[in-house]
């Protein structure tokens, strides 16, 4: 059981953690200073080391260098003793499992440093085999340039070995490249080792600089994880070498691994600066849920497609107000946007629909166009509109609509001349919708609550789980009230999610909608449920998800702080922030 490592913050697969040595250490970090190797069993028999609270003792091990045949690994597999001090086990993707260690060193990793796809596979495989709340250690791999990618993949500990060795070889490492030290005519760094003239800068200085640069980059990475913005950073940083880009894309293809760990909402804005953004789990998940889980409730009205606005939520933007003034709420509105895809009006608050910032380029790329074409087609296949009014500008949007039009049955009508907010366009829009009936506010608001429930709890949840309810409050601060007058839950304007009351939680449990349940031991949680108290947790739970907590002594609702698998696995740290609890 892990006693010395705890995860404090997550950003996708990346984590900020704490190694509780006699002097506590924040991870991810350079570990060689506090890792003590009890030695290899290849070279000698070893006694169980005495250990020490001030270091992580790597228990006697057999490292399997890359290329070691699986059968050899199997027959030389080591079983690790139970010890009561901070300890590490050496594993390979083939031998990785729960050895009760705090730290798992992945053997053979230096060979991965140039092979992004192998790296991604091995890290994912290992990470999934070892306990969630243990630290994954890659030795001899980290450089200032690659370390952000390592951490993004799920590595918690690295060391300075490679940086130092490269330094002794006269290679000057930076976050964006490497230089032959004999080739430098100045020192492009502000670290203490570089506060000397380039002439007197020797290889020892170079090794020290490399370590400084590595440490600084790790500090930056920790910060980015804390901010929930590591991915944004990596979309830029990863460009500096093929490895980084390869890791980014390789992990995007490990969608399950990444999506499971990606929070349902973030406080920070998501910066859409590269086309890799389209492949982020947040974006893919939204597109998937907004199409597959969406149930059309506002029927017998046309669909009105409009361009997104820079101001969020869209409905508060000036342009969208103008559209609605002209449309007189006679159509179901959906916004088209890169990189989110299609946002039906009910989901305009839901993360990341109002949480992204995009680099305005004035032009759509082919990738963006085909992504939105795909999402819009899927959306239209799932819904039935009598007509589609495409109130969209020429550039990009029009092409998307025309491509989609060719694939679906419903007819498209175009209402924009010159610019969507041009007087003529707005008149066209008004005229085109003349004769259509108006959508009542209450109808729209009810649809919003149900759509959010579908998105959050699963297809059909909006009806099955919420059932009949009355509306209270003023958009976006809407509440769902059961016929008996009890509140079921409220829409959280900041994230466009439902927050449940106890009554809501109970209705969820009673409904056909699969409940995201965290089973706990016989106690009544106050404020939060900690991981050791969790007996089991639904695998579908994502960080930030609304969950029901059930135990012999308590029933509660709250927000998951990590994914289900991690909750069940972990022996330390928070699992659920409890909102309401009652004793049983």
């Amino acid at each position: 059981m892990t006693e010395y490592f705890e995860v404090h913050a997550r950003d996708g697969a990346a984590r900020v953690g704490e190694l509780r040595l006699s002097e506590s250490v924040r991870t991810p970090c350079v570990a060689d200073e506090f890792v003590e190797d009890a030695g290899s069993l290849w070279a000698a028999e070893r006694d169980v080391p005495e250990g020490d609270e001030s270091v992580v003792t790597m228990l006697p091990h057999r490292g399997f260098p890359r290329g070691t045949d699986e059968r050899v690994q199997e027959s030389f597999a080591v079983t690790y003793p139970d010890v009561d001090y901070p300890n590490g086990a050496v594993v390979s993707p083939e031998t990785a499992e729960d050895y009760g260690a705090d730290v798992y060193a992945l053997s053979g990793s230096p060979a991965l440093v140039d092979y992004a796809s192998a790296f991604v596979e091995e890290v994912v495989e290992t990470r999934e085999a070892i306990p969630e709340d243990s630290a994954l250690y890659l030795s001899g791999v980290a450089t200032p340039r690659n370390v952000a990618s390592l951490v993004y993949a799920g590595v918690d500990l690295v060391d300075g070995h490679r940086a130092v060795v490269r330094g002794t070889q006269g290679t000057y490492l930076t976050t964006e490249g490497e230089y032959d030290v004999d080739d430098l005519d100045e020192l492009p760094c502000a670290c203490p080792a570089c506060q000397t003239s380039v002439e007197s800068f020797d290889r020892e200085d170079c090794a020290e600089h490399n370590l400084n640069a590595l440490r600084a980059e790790l500090s930056r990475v920790r910060r980015r994880i804390g901010d929930g913005r590591l991915r944004d950073y990596l979309e830029g940083q990863a460009r500096h070498e093929a490895f980084g880009t390869g890791v980014l894309r390789g992990l995007d293809q490990q969608y399950g691994y990444l999506e499971e760990r990606t929070p349902m909402m973030r406080e920070s804005l998501l910066l859409a600066a590269t086309e890799d953004t389209i492949r982020r789990p947040e974006i893919q998940r939204f597109a998937q849920r907004a199409t597959e889980r969406f149930t059309q409730r506002i029927t017998d009205h046309p669909l009105l497609l409009v361009p997104c606005s820079a101001a969020k939520p869209y409905s508060e933007s000036q342009s969208h107000r103008q559209f609605q003034d002209a449309a007189k709420y006679r159509a179901h509105l959906a916004s088209m946007t890169s990189p989110i895809g299609v946002v039906p009006q009910e989901l305009e608050l839901t993360y990341p629909a109002q949480h992204y910032d995009t680099v305005v380029t004035g032009r759509w790329t082919e990738n963006e166009i085909s992504f939105v074409v795909d999402v819009l087609s899927r959306y239209l296949e799932q819904t039935e509109y009598p007509r589609v009014i495409a109130h969209v500008p020429e550039e990009g949007y029009r092409e998307i609509c025309e491509r989609v039009e060719a694939q679906v049955d419903v007819p498209f009508e175009y209402t924009v001349e010159d610019h969507p907010t041009a007087d003529e366009s707005l008149v066209n829009l008004r005229e085109t919708l003349k004769g259509e009936s108006q959508i009542r506010v209450s109808e729209k608001e009810e649809a919003t609550l149900r759509a959010v429930a579908d998105f959050q709890f699963g297809q059909g949840a909006g009806d099955e789980f919420l059932g009949e309810f009355d509306l209270r409050g003023r958009y976006p601060k809407l509440q769902a009230i059961a016929p008996d007058g009890e509140q079921l839950g409220a829409l959280v304007p900041q994230y466009g999610t439902f927050s449940l009351t106890l009554a809501g939680g109970k209705r969820w449990v009673a409904s056909d909608t699969p409940t995201k349940t965290v089973e706990i031991d016989g106690f009544v949680p106050q404020g939060s449920v900690l991981a050791p108290g969790v007996l089991a947790a639904d695998e579908s739970i994502r960080p930030g998800d609304e969950v029901v907590v059930e135990g012999p002594k308590a029933f509660a609702v709250g927000r998951a702080t990590t994914h289900g698998a991690a909750m069940a696995d972990a022996t330390r740290g928070m699992a659920v922030e409890v909102r309401h609890v009652e004793e049983r």
Binding site: D32, A43, V48
Partner: protein
């Protein structure tokens, strides 16, 4: 602590796995037909012997190949297929090989070599490889030379077999591929199945008839970090030197041979041959032992052979060769290179879970 090792040995699981993998690798190689009338290789060189540095004739006899290797065998050894297909080579064929070697010597050297060394990629003293008659005829053939070295596994070092050479007046040495004095490393990393005790017994047996022993050590088998390899060699040299009858140790760094486990590891980034600095370090450190210690790095300076940074490989190799002849450790203080810092860092930092730390 639950030590897996005893089980491994009891069940022979480690050996089985190694053998299984090696057999597959060797199967990939396929086999060439070798002419049983021709030796595998033959060359003229100079060697440091207890009698000083002398000209040597080295013969690799083609005897049908190493039985152990056919079963799987040593993780670093790629010589197995360099032998006749099918098994054994008859006495006449072996003598033809010897004739061929003598012709080579006559062509290449001005005089007969005082020292003759015969290797077989197996055991010359194993009568399944070299029949007793052939052994005796070979002893006679070289009776006028000063010294002979024949290669054998310890099992086959029997007084009567060794006597065949002693009896014709040859200073006789049996060369044993001990690889390391550490049984654990020999078993788990090299996959060679005899113990140091067997070596000691063989030395005693040879000495009993007046022959000597020459130990062959292997620097850096797979699965060892650089520092472990160095320590293993330092200890091995000292333990060999302490064995009566063992007057010479030839410590040779691993090179990466095709169709071996080492090659497989190397290809996938899991093996780097030792640094030449490591070889020098061991030689320098053990220079005080009462024994000739030599080393002949093969393929030095290349990616598949022992190497430093590429700048200094030739210099260091030269120093090693010089040491081989003069046994003077001061030769090593005369070569330096910036890459010593890298080597220092590797020795300090490399473990079996992060190797190789540097190319």
């Amino acid at each position: 602590m639950s030590q897996p090792s005893p089980e491994v040995y009891e069940e022979g699981r480690g050996m089985d796995a190694h053998n299984q993998v090696m057999r597959e690798l060797r199967a990939e190689k396929g086999s060439k037909q070798y002419d049983p009338e021709e030796p595998t290789r033959v060359w003229i060189d100079e060697d440091n012997t207890p009698d000083g540095v002398v000209q040597s004739l080295t013969i690799i006899l083609n005897t049908g190949g190493c039985r152990w290797a056919r079963a799987g065998g040593c993780t670093m050894c790629g010589y197995v297929a360099e032998s006749v297909e099918g098994g054994s080579v008859g006495v006449d064929a072996l003598m033809s090989q010897i004739d061929s070697c003598l012709e080579h010597e006559a062509e290449e050297a001005d005089e007969e070599s005082p020292l003759v060394k015969i290797y077989t990629s197996g055991s010359f003293l194993d009568e399944r490889e070299v029949e007793a008659e052939a052994r005796r005829r070979i002893a006679e053939t070289f009776a006028d030379r000063k010294r002979i070295v024949v290669e054998s596994l310890p099992d086959f070092v029997q007084a009567d077999r060794v006597s065949d050479f002693v009896d014709v007046g040859l200073e006789t040495d049996v060369a044993v591929g001990l690889e390391t004095a550490t049984d654990r490393v020999r078993h788990d990393c090299v996959n060679k199945y005899f113990d140091f005790a067997d070596f000691e017994a063989a030395a005693a047996e040879a000495e009993s008839v007046g022959a000597g022993i020459k130990a062959y050590l292997l620097m850096k088998p797979p699965f060892l970090a650089e520092s472990e390899a160095i320590e293993d060699m330092k200890a091995s040299v000292r333990r060999c030197a302490d064995v009566d009858g063992c007057h010479t140790v030839s410590m040779n760094p691993t090179n990466v041979q095709r169709y071996t486990m080492v090659d497989d590891l190397h290809f996938r980034g899991g093996y780097r041959p030792p640094w030449l600095w490591s070889v020098a370090e061991v030689l320098e450190d053990t220079a005080d032992v009462d024994c000739i210690v030599v080393s002949d790095p093969v393929g030095h300076g290349s990616d598949r052979g022992p190497h430093n940074c590429g700048e200094c490989d030739d210099k260091v190799q030269l120093a090693i060769k010089d040491f081989d002849k003069r046994q003077d450790p001061s030769v090593f203080s005369e070569v330096t290179c910036e890459c010593e810092h890298t080597w220092d860092a590797v020795v300090e930092r490399e473990t079996t879970y992060n190797l190789p730390l540097a190319e």
